[in-house]
C-alpha cells in the first residue's frame, strides 16, 4: 500500500521558506548586479544633484524680476553671459534685471533662482532679451539635493536592483556594492525509464524532460543550475548523487521523479542520509503537486519534485521559486513570488474540494480583466504546459468555478 501523506497547506509550506537564510554577501560591480538583491542598506554619500541645475534651455534669472511679465508687457533683461556646460559659472553673478544663457543640466549662476524657457523669450539685440512669461522661484530647476539628500538611505537591504536602481547608484558614484551570492542548484532526474534528451531512446525508455525544464526555471529564479544527470531507481545511487551534489558544493538539490512509491521512498531516504538533515514536509495539498518533499541540511535545501513535468512546474513556481529568491536575499513578496493578476475564467470548471488546484490557462484580452481559458490535458503531458500563460488558482474548499467568475492567476515566467 502507498503510505498516507500528512499534507501541508500551500501557506504552511511557503512559511517554511523562512527556515532558510540568505546566502553570503559578495562584492559586485553595478554593471553585473542587475536583478540581484542588495545585501546592505545604501546611504547616499552626497547630494544629488550636487548643485542646482536647469531643466530647460533658456535663461537663468531672478524670478522676482519676471513677476508681472506677459506677452503684452514683457520684462527686459540684460544678458551678461552664458553658463558653459560642465563648468561652474563662477564668473557670473546676476544683479537685478540681468539674465545668463543656460542649457539643460547647467549649474545656476550666483544671484539666479529660476530659469525662463527660451520659448518665452525674444532677443532684442546681442545683449538684451524680452521675457513674456513670469516664473516663480525654483521654476525649471532641480535644486541641490532635490533628487537625493546626503546621508539618506536611498535603497534598503533586499531591494531588487532594476535598471533604475542601478542608475541611481551610478548617479551617486556607488559602482561597487554587496549582493547575496546566487544559489548553485543541482538538478537530478530519477527513473529507470529515462534517457538523456540527446540519446535515442530504446523501446520502453523515454527522454528526460525535467532536467531541461527545471534547469531553465532555476535560471529564471536567479539560480545557477548544474545538471547532475539521470539517476536510476536505486536508493544507493540516489543517495550518492545527492551527497556528491552537496559536495560540489550545491546550495540546493532538486530531485524530480519518484512518482512511484519506491522512488519516492528513495528520495526521502537519500535526503535522510545527508548529515544533519531534517525533513520539513512530505506532501502538500495542492493539485497537481502533492508528492513534494522539503528537507534542510544546515543552510542547504533538499527538494523532491513530482515526476510529471506539469506537476513539477507548479511545485517549482509555488515553492522553489520563492525559496531561491529567499536564498538570494529578497524580502518583499513582489520579489519573492511570481506575479499574480485577477482574470475571468471563460468556461465552467469543476474541482474536487480538499486541495488547492492550479489550472493551466491561456490569457487573452484586458478589458478590464483578461480572460483565462482553461487548457485541458493530463499532468503527464508537456504540450499543454507549453500553451499556458498562467496557473489559475481554485481555492481549497471550492467545488469549481462558473464561466465568468473572477479568479487569481499566477503568471508563468
Amino acid at each position: 500500500m502507498k503510505p498516507f501523506f500528512k499534507l501541508k497547506s500551500r501557506k504552511e509550506l511557503q512559511d517554511l521558506i523562512k527556515e532558510f537564510s540568505p546566502l553570503e554577501a559578495v562584492s559586485a560591480d553595478i554593471a553585473e548586479a542587475l536583478n540581484h538583491a542588495l545585501a546592505r542598506d545604501i546611504k547616499s554619500p552626497e547630494d544629488l544633484p550636487p548643485f542646482t541645475r536647469s531643466t530647460m534651455d533658456g535663461f537663468a534669472v531672478r524670478a522676482a524680476d519676471t513677476f508681472g511679465a506677459s506677452e503684452t508687457q514683457p520684462a527686459l533683461f540684460e544678458v551678461t553671459g552664458e553658463v558653459r556646460m560642465g563648468y561652474p559659472p563662477d564668473s557670473i553673478s546676476l544683479e537685478p534685471g540681468q539674465a545668463a544663457r543656460i542649457w539643460t543640466g547647467g549649474e545656476l549662476p550666483g544671484g539666479s533662482d529660476a530659469v525662463v524657457m527660451v520659448e518665452h523669450t525674444q532677443a532684442i539685440d546681442a545683449s538684451t532679451i524680452e521675457v513674456s512669461r513670469a516664473v516663480s522661484p525654483r521654476e525649471n530647476t532641480i535644486q541641490k539635493g532635490e533628487d537625493v539628500q546626503k546621508d539618506s538611505v536611498v535603497l534598503a537591504r533586499g531591494t531588487r536592483l532594476r535598471p533604475q536602481e542601478l542608475g541611481l547608484l551610478a548617479g551617486l558614484g556607488i559602482t561597487g556594492i554587496t549582493v547575496h551570492r546566487q544559489p548553485v542548484v543541482a538538478v537530478i532526474s530519477t527513473g529507470d525509464e529515462l534517457v538523456r534528451p540527446d540519446s535515442p531512446p530504446r523501446r520502453g525508455k523515454i527522454r528526460d524532460i525535467n532536467s531541461t525544464t527545471i534547469s531553465a526555471l532555476v535560471r529564471i529564479a536567479g539560480g545557477i543550475p548544474v545538471n547532475a544527470g539521470i539517476v536510476n531507481d536505486s536508493r544507493q545511487h540516489l543517495t550518492s548523487a545527492c551527497l556528491e551534489a552537496l559536495d560540489m558544493p550545491a546550495d540546493m538539490v532538486l530531485v524530480s521523479g519518484g512518482s512511484s512509491v519506491g522512488q519516492r521512498d528513495y528520495t526521502i531516504e537519500a535526503f535522510k542520509a545527508v548529515e544533519g538533515s531534517s525533513l520539513l514536509a512530505h506532501g502538500v495539498s495542492v493539485r497537481p503537486g502533492k508528492p513534494t518533499i522539503l528537507a534542510r541540511a544546515g543552510r542547504k535545501a533538499l527538494v523532491g519534485l513530482p515526476g510529471h513535468a506539469a506537476s513539477a512546474l507548479v511545485v517549482f513556481c509555488l515553492f522553489v521559486y520563492p525559496l531561491l529568491k529567499r536564498l538570494q536575499g529578497f524580502i518583499l513578496p513582489k520579489d519573492l513570488y511570481l506575479p499574480e493578476i485577477t482574470a475571468r475564467i471563460t468556461s465552467n470548471y469543476p474541482s474536487q474540494p480538499g486541495r488547492e488546484e492550479y489550472l493551466r490557462v491561456s490569457l487573452k484580452g484586458n478589458s478590464p480583466l483578461p480572460d483565462a481559458e482553461p487548457i485541458f490535458g493530463k499532468s503527464g503531458l508537456i504540450y499543454p504546459v507549453a500553451r499556458a500563460d498562467g496557473l489559475l488558482v481554485i481555492p481549497r474548499d471550492s467545488e469549481g468555478l462558473h464561466a465568468g467568475e473572477r479568479a487569481r492567476v499566477m503568471l508563468l515566467p
Copy 2:
C-alpha cells in the same frame, strides 16, 4: 530658436519597428536558448510518448474485465507478471481475467488497455488481486502520440522559448535548434557635463546615469550592451563614436542626451553621416520623451533618446524594447511589448491634452484591480523612477484622470 518638431504618435513610431528585419538565425543548444525566439517552425520527428504509458502505480488490465466491479462485488484477476520500468513488456500478453503489475510511466503490455490504481486493489494471494472499481478503456494511461503527434508543428517560428517549450523540445530529442542572434547595442551618453560613475565629478560636472540604466534595460530586452562611453557635445566626436560603434559591429546605436538644441542637432547629424542612413522619426508625441530620434542604416538601428533618465526609460520601454525584440525574431505582441494591466488611479491627476502621458506609479493590492499611486517628481530626477512599478498611460486627448478611474499601466521590467 528651437526647431519645431513634426511629432509622430506612439503608434506611428511603433509601426516603424516593422522596417527592421530580425537578425540572422544561429544554431543553439536548448540548454542555452532560454527566452530566445525560434527562427524556424519545429516539426515533431516522432510520437510523444513513443508508447502508451501508465499514469499511475497499479495493474494493467483489459478494461472490459473490470466492468461492474465494486467494493461489494470486486472482480478477481490473476497477476501474470510485472512491467519493469525502462524495458518493453514483450514477455507479457494479457488474456481475459489477467493483470500485470505496472508503475507510473511504464509501458502497457499487450492485451491491456487501461490501468487500475493500486488503491483500488487488494492482494488475495501472491498471484491474485481483487479490483474494487471499474475502469474505462484508456483510463489512467497516456496514449502513444497523445502529447505530440509525429510530423505535427509543435512550436512555430517566433515562439519565445520558456522552460516548458525547452522541455517539450528535450522530450522530442531536439537539443539543437536555430534562434535569432542577440543584437549588440552600443550605448553612448552625450554631454559636456558628464563624467563616468566611478569618477569624482569636478564642480559643474555630474555623473552619467543613463549608460548604466540603458545598458541594464538592453540586457533585459535580450540585447548585448556595449558601453561606448561618454562623448562631449561635439558634432565630430559624436559622429566618430557612432561610426566606430557600427564598425564594432553593433546592430544598434543608442545615443542618450542631447536635451539641448545643439546636442540634439549633433545626434541627427551624426546619424545622417552614417552611409545609407535615413531618418524615420524626429520627435514623438508622448510625455516625457518628445525629443526621440529614430534612423535606419541598412539593417542597423540608430536611436536618439532624451537625456533625462526618466524620459529615456519611457522611450526605451515604448520603442527600443519592442525594436530589440523584433531584431531577435519575436512576433507576438505579448513578446514584443512590455506587459500591461488595468489599474485604478488613487488620486486626481490633471494632464495636458495633445501628448500621451506616461505617469510613474507604484502598484498596491489586487482586488480585483491594483491601485496605482502616482509618484510625483520632475523627469530630471532618478529617485522617483526607482520607486515606480509601472507607467500609467493617460490618453492623448485626456485632460486627466479622477481618483478611482481605470487606466492601463505598463509594467516596468
